[in-house]
Amino acid sequence: MKQLFERLRPLFAVTDFEQRRTDLAFLHIPKDYAEMLIRHLRDHEGFSHLVFFTAVDYIEDGIFRLIYMLHNYATKDTLGVYVDLSRAEPVMTSIHPLWEQAALYQRELKEMFGIDFPGSPGVDEDFLLEGWDEIPPMRREFDTRAYAEKTFFPRAGREKTDPRAHMQAQLYPDEGEK
């Protein structure tokens, strides 16, 4: 996998290569070169399988990190391509011409993180949430607990047990809370 990185380095602005296992590695690429790199990996390096495509919200750094997980069936290597997007301008080039399922991932990312992929088929259609008018729910600042308390109401007479206190009593009765 390191050899692959060395081959890619003169062609694309790839950085921060990290070999997680012998068959799994990650690298970073700036947003503007990402689509070209992914196309190159698919067409010339044998990474024909889009395993999944998702994002991580690093709110403290002001970025969304996109992860394109690609797989090469011939060499059995899996490569995660990381692309950082500014949270202030979460727009990315669509890869729907490369894989049929990419449009669905992009539709999901639009709904769940608010990341836009202009031109991606159906990207503005609801994926799971109908009539959602809150912020995209997978963003870190969306508080599931506050939303639940605001939206739903407690059932009268229902007893609640704090899971943490219960596990403490069951598993570590002799240890105090640290």
């Binding site: 296992r21 399988h49 992860i67 799971l128 599931t144």
Partner: protein
């Protein structure tokens, strides 16, 4: 020279989207699901029909969306086990295994030998139980409802064994980081062998009643053919891929647990239609039984089944990210796990084969299919909606 297909019956395409004028009385919109015996789980297909033929299909999910991936971000690592097993109801064990394996990799834990064998046994039993549920659905979609009753009964015999082994029939929470929660109960192996014999007998009968049934063959041969070119283009994995002759299986290609110490071949087909996919899965059910027997014959009976963990209420996983994969009944299942070194996961993304099988693949293959065959086509792709909705 072939003439161009007659598209006069199909809706006009504008900007790549079909325009359906229901007032033209040429088309009918029909919702197939979410309440329909011929749909797999809580999802629906929005079909546009021209006569009996489907001219457009749109998959809809969201009926049981609970935001699993989001919920996991505010629970401690160990508290997520009751969440992950709900991400594929008929086969929760693959989720448990993958989540545990991902945490073990990030935390540098090596489960003991005996735990690896017990996990493999659990996963193969799970595969057999899940295939039994699917087989009943596949038969029922073509009018053989009785077979569904038989397979569900036999699945229940396996659930009895899961209850003995783990304490739970459906959701087990049995595989934890470091190993499994317990060894096998006394007499378990004999009872498991007795159930395997009953399942074998059932499969023999199903072969005669379903696979040799001329009506079933007439309706499934040539239906829903997945072209070889579609495999990578759509990210198709598992039996849907193997039925068109591509020999790929995570258990063989990227061995995990003790699969490299078991003797088995990757089962493939050629025709890639609904009948062939049924046949591939049917043969994989026999393979499951064989693998379970190999495990019972070779597994160690003594030794620890769990590595001690630190206090799990204060357990911080070292920062890092990984992707682990396994072969579930429907193809490649994987967990992408990101830790920032805190008590909680930073991000977990679940890769389930249904994501692509139920959406782009189903939407493409439904077009031109007779409405009566839609349920059978859907079941032949073997999809579970929770892993789409996560």
């Amino acid at each position: 020279m072939m003439s161009a297909p007659d598209r006069s019956r199909y809706p006009e395409l504008v900007d790549g989207k079909p325009v359906v004028d229901l007032d033209s009385e040429k088309y009918v919109k029909l919702w197939h699901g979410p309440q329909h015996p011929g749909i797999t789980g809580n999802m629906s297909l929005e079909l546009t029909l021209c006569g009996d033929e489907v001219v457009e299909c749109k998959t809809h999910v969201g009926y049981l969306h609970r935001g699993f991936e989001k919920l996991m971000e505010r629970r401690t690592w160990i508290q997520n086990f009751p969440v992950v097993c709900r991400i594929a109801v008929p086969e929760p064990a693959f989720n448990e295994y993958l989540y545990a394996a991902g945490l073990e990799e990030l935390a540098g834990i090596e489960p003991p030998e005996r735990a690896q064998w017990i996990r493999t046994l659990n996963l193969e039993m799970m595969r057999l139980a899940s295939f039994l549920a699917w087989l009943g659905g596949q038969a029922g979609a073509f009018g053989n409802g009785t077979i569904g009753q038989w397979t569900v009964t036999h699945r229940d015999y396996l659930l009895d064994l899961f209850e003995e082994m783990t304490g739970g029939r459906i959701y087990h929470m049995y595989m934890l980081p470091g190993g499994v929660r317990s060894g096998l109960p006394d007499g378990f192996e004999e009872r498991l062998e007795a159930v395997l014999k009953r399942v074998e007998k059932l499969l023999k009968e199903i072969k005669l009643i379903l696979l040799h049934n001329s009506v079933f063959k007439a309706r499934t041969v040539g239906l829903g053919i997945i072209d070889r070119e579609m495999i990578d283009r759509y990210g198709i994995t598992g039996p849907n891929q193997r039925a068109c002759g591509i020999k790929r299986d995570v258990r063989k290609d990227y061995p995990y647990l003790v699969y490299d110490r078991l003797d088995f071949e990757v089962i493939t087909g050629t025709a890639s239609d609904v009948y062939e996919r049924t046949l591939v899965r049917y043969r994989e059910m026999h393979q499951c039984i064989d693998l379970i027997r190999q495990i019972l014959e070779r597994m160690p009976r003594d030794g620890p089944f769990h590595e001690p963990l630190p206090n799990v209420l204060h357990w911080k996983i070292p920062p890092g990210e990984t992707y682990v994969r396994a072969e579930c009944t429907r193809g490649e299942k994987g967990y992408y796990i990101v830790s920032d070194g805190s008590l909680y996961p930073r991000r977990i993304c679940i890769r389930g084969p249904s994501y692509t099988h139920a959406f782009p693949v189903m939407e493409k293959m439904a077009i031109g299919t007779d409405i009566a065959d839609i349920a059978g086509l859907m079941v032949s792709l073997h999809t579970y909606p929770p892993e789409i909705e996560r």
